[in-house]
Amino acid sequence: MFVENLGIVLALTGAVLSALLAGIGSAIGVSRAGKAAAGVCTDQPEQFAKVLILQLLPGTQGIYGLLVAFIALSRIGLLGGGEIAALTISEGILYLLACLPMAFVGYFSAVAQGNTSVASMAIVVKQPTQAGKAMIFPAMVETYAILALLISILVVNAI
């Protein structure tokens, strides 16, 4: 019984990992940036909008993770109440592998981006007119999350 369902279990593990790890990473990143943002606002409340944007930047990985999980689930047939497709074990492994880039790159890039956002807040504090530049540095980190998202989506779609 278990072996019969192993394919779907593996596929589901992949989808869950993608949402799980990327989500945890984003939560850590956003909370780090949020602490720094709160510190900025105690002294310069007028910078609220700028630091809020910086805080939000590491949050996207969680959304990407959700996205990959969602696409994987809908491909497996677990969403929308239709019939669940029977998956072979090797198909399950393929889904699992497809989700891994988003899961791992999502986690680490979100944490790293959170740190970069914290550093960028110093720019907002000391040079409020340069906030545009402050936003670019964390966005650089996000590039790799986007690449991981892309490859995960392409692979899931290709299975």
Binding site: I63, L66, L67, I71, I146, L150, L154
Partner: protein
């Protein structure tokens, strides 16, 4: 549509007119005044630092007063109040008001003093309140707390820890009474609870010290507060003083509320003082002799004749204008409405140097294009468009920076609508979901082009193609710059060779089966074209190796040339970077679909429909916010890294005219 031509201006005029001239310059904001070094014995710099310090103090007082007034009489702020812009004031109004600035300053000082007094009153009641609390247990006692005495008896008050009964106290005292002499003792319990027992002890004078010592071994402590009157009276006195402070505070607060009616003039005062301070700071930069002064600065060329006319008609003055375009010249941009929105993008990277072309027009087209691709939803675009459009129409007086920003988003939203229709995305798949669940008949608005989620590889190829066009235009900009500066050889080495190499390589790549199977396309180029492509890339590569190290000699030159050729890998990673166009576009659409699906799970009944709408509004609002932010940031990145990296140096200094840097009022005065 470009960098504005600048002129260097020098002004020499009579000292008695200095203030008036500076005021006109400040109100019209036309000249950026330079700091002049003077070794001349006739011309000296005026030292205005004392005035600046005095004015800075005054500004602090006025700002503090304004803050206090706002606490007592908050502004009715709407969500969009920041869009309203500064109030317009005419020169006459300004002059009338500035005559009253001394009065205003007195009001400001009074307000600050009153606020200080209010704070003092608040602090002053804390001590009596604590004392009342300490006296509370003693209220039943009708003699003063500091022990009173008669001819032969002494009495004292104090508390024991914990709850005690009279008998327990007498018993303990009896146990401690070694000489059996405690006969004339009376203990009275004033108040008792589980934490402490307040007692009043009366005894013969000779025993007083001994008894007190005995009680101390039981944990007896004298009261923390002492008064010469009975506790009840003391509390009354304290309450009276608290009431007095409260009354005072109320009176002060009433006065502040009265003064807060003059909030507007306080705003004026803050602006007025700030302008004065700026004037003093600028006055440091000009030099003066006994009767004349002299200043140097930059002015926009188009404003120069007007300024000359205006000043010549009012004063005896010598003005001189010279064209200026060296690297010290500050830079100001001027573009039409469509382009100027993205000026802030260029500014946040770096302004073009004064001899460099303004990249904003090219940026703007790609900016709107890519932003739309990344957000890519018709309804989202429509919502953003309506929001920006209505705000732009409603708040005509908004500050130029805000206006440009909104205008940029307005054009971005038009592009978003366009791409939404091309990709068939209307709030994700809202039409499908509503029609299938509520009307039982699934309707899909067909995409005008194709649906990226169904054909991701096709979209990826187009993303790379858009990216290549973007970067080729960037390389073209480098060529334009070289030709404009008459560096024709640089144009050949840095632009033509690269075009040859890249186009040759791309043609060869397109012809491979690997690429065609990945992209799902199939075509073959004629062999002639392939030969041309091969030769193009060979000529380009050899040219780059030979020329990109041209400032070095010998062996080093070839090494540098090879390193230059290695730049191809940079182009490859740059192209891959455009895959974000696909990824972010998919993200918007898929998240929107998730929201729709979750909302539709609530059923199609009346309650389900209402909840459906609530979930939709909330979910899509969040989705627009997050994805518009993503599109904004990543479009910026594509411009800054991939596009600017090809040609743009920047490093221009911003033109910062000496102007009224006010927070609340602005002048309606233009040079006639």
């Amino acid at each position: 549509m470009s960098v504005m031509p600048m002129q260097r201006v020098t002004i020499c005029a009579l000292k008695k007119n200095k203030k008036d001239i500076l005021n006109i310059l400040q109100r019209t904001g036309t000249i950026q005044i330079n700091d002049i070094d003077s070794d001349d014995s006739a011309f000296q710099k005026a030292d205005t630092s004392e005035n600046v310090i005095a004015l800075t103090k005054k500004i602090q007082v006025a700002e503090q007063a304004l803050k206090i007034m706002q606490q007592y009489q908050p502004d009715e702020k709407s969500m969009f109040s920041s869009l309203q812009g500064r109030t317009i004031i005419t020169v006459e109004e300004y002059q009338n008001k500035s005559e009253k600035s001394d009065e205003m300053y007195e009001t400001a000082e009074r307000t600050v003093e009153l606020a200080r007094k209010v704070a003092e009153c608040q602090a002053a009641v804390i001590n009596p309140q604590n004392q009342i609390e300490a006296l509370e247990p003693w209220l039943a006692l009708d003699v003063p707390l500091n022990s009173s005495q008669t001819k032969s008896t002494a009495s004292f008050a104090g508390s024991l820890k914990g709850a005690w009964t009279l008998n327990e106290i007498y018993e303990k005292l009896a146990q401690l009474d070694e000489e059996n002499s405690f006969d004339a003792v009376s203990v009275e319990i004033i108040n008792s609870n589980k934490n402490q027992t307040c007692i009043f002890v009366t005894c013969s004078k000779s025993l007083a010290a001994k008894i007190e010592e005995s009680l101390r071994t039981l944990g007896f402590t004298p009261p923390s507060v002492t008064y010469d009157v009975a506790p009840k009276h003391a509390v009354d006195e304290l309450n009276a003083s608290i009431k007095k402070y409260a009354d005072d505070k109320l009176a002060y607060e009433e006065e502040i509320k009265g003064l807060a009616q003059q909030k507007e003039s306080m705003r004026f005062l803050v602006d007025f003082l700030n302008m004065k301070k700026d004037e003093c700071e600028v006055a440091k930069n000009l030099i003066q002799s006994k009767n004349t002064f002299y200043l140097e600065g930059y002015i926009l060329k188009e404003k120069a004749p007007k300024l000359a006319k205006c000043l010549n008609s009012k004063f005896d003055i010598a003005l001189d204008f010279v064209d200026s375009a060296d690297e010290d010249t500050p830079v100001a941009l001027k573009n039409n409405a469509f382009v100027s929105g993205t000026e802030s993008v260029v500014e946040s990277y770096s302004l073009p140097a004064s001899n460099e072309p303004d990249p904003t027009p090219v940026i703007s087209i790609f900016y709107y294009f890519f932003f739309g691709l990344m957000l890519g939803d018709f309804v989202y675009g429509l919502i953003m468009f309506l929001g920006c459009f209505i705000m732009l129409r409603k708040f005509k007086n908004m500050e130029p920076g805000t206006k440009k920003f909104l205008r940029m988003f307005m054009y971005c939203s038009i592009s978003t609508m366009f791409w939404g229709a091309m990709f068939g995305s209307y709030m994700g798949d809202i039409v499908d979901v509503v029609s299938a669940n509520w009307f039982g008949n699934k309707v899909t608005i067909p995409a005008l082009w194709f649906v990226p989620l169904n054909e991701p590889m096709r979209m990826l190829v187009y993303s790379f193609a858009f990216g290549l066009i973007h970067m080729f235009v960037g390389l073209g900009m480098l060529g334009y710059k070289d030709i404009k500066n008459k560096q024709y050889l640089d144009f050949l080495y840095d632009v033509v060779f690269w075009y040859a190499l890249l186009i040759g390589l791309i043609l060869m790549l397109l012809n491979t089966s690997l690429f065609q199977s990945m992209a799902g396309m199939s075509f073959t180029f004629p062999p002639v074209l392939m030969t041309i492509a091969q030769w193009m890339s060979i000529v380009g590569a050899v040219g780059i190796i030979l020329t990109s190290g041209r400032e070095s000699r010998g062996f080093k030159r070839i090494l540098k040339g090879l390193y230059g050729l290695y730049g191809v890998s940079g182009w490859l990673s740059d192209v891959l970077s455009y895959s974000r166009l696909l990824a972010l576009g998919l993200a918007t659409g898929v998240i929107a679909s998730v929201i729709n699906q979750m909302a539709a799970m609530l059923g199609t009944g009346v309650i389900g429909t209402i909840l459906f709408i609530v979930v939709l509004i909330f979910g899509h609002a969040v989705n627009i916010g997050i994805n518009a932010l993503g599109a904004y940031v990543h479009t910026n990145r594509l411009q800054f890294v991939e596009f600017f990296g090809k040609f743009y140096d920047g490093g221009g200094k911003t033109f910062k005219p000496f102007a009224a840097n006010t927070a609340y009022y602005k002048f309606k005065e233009d040079l006639e």
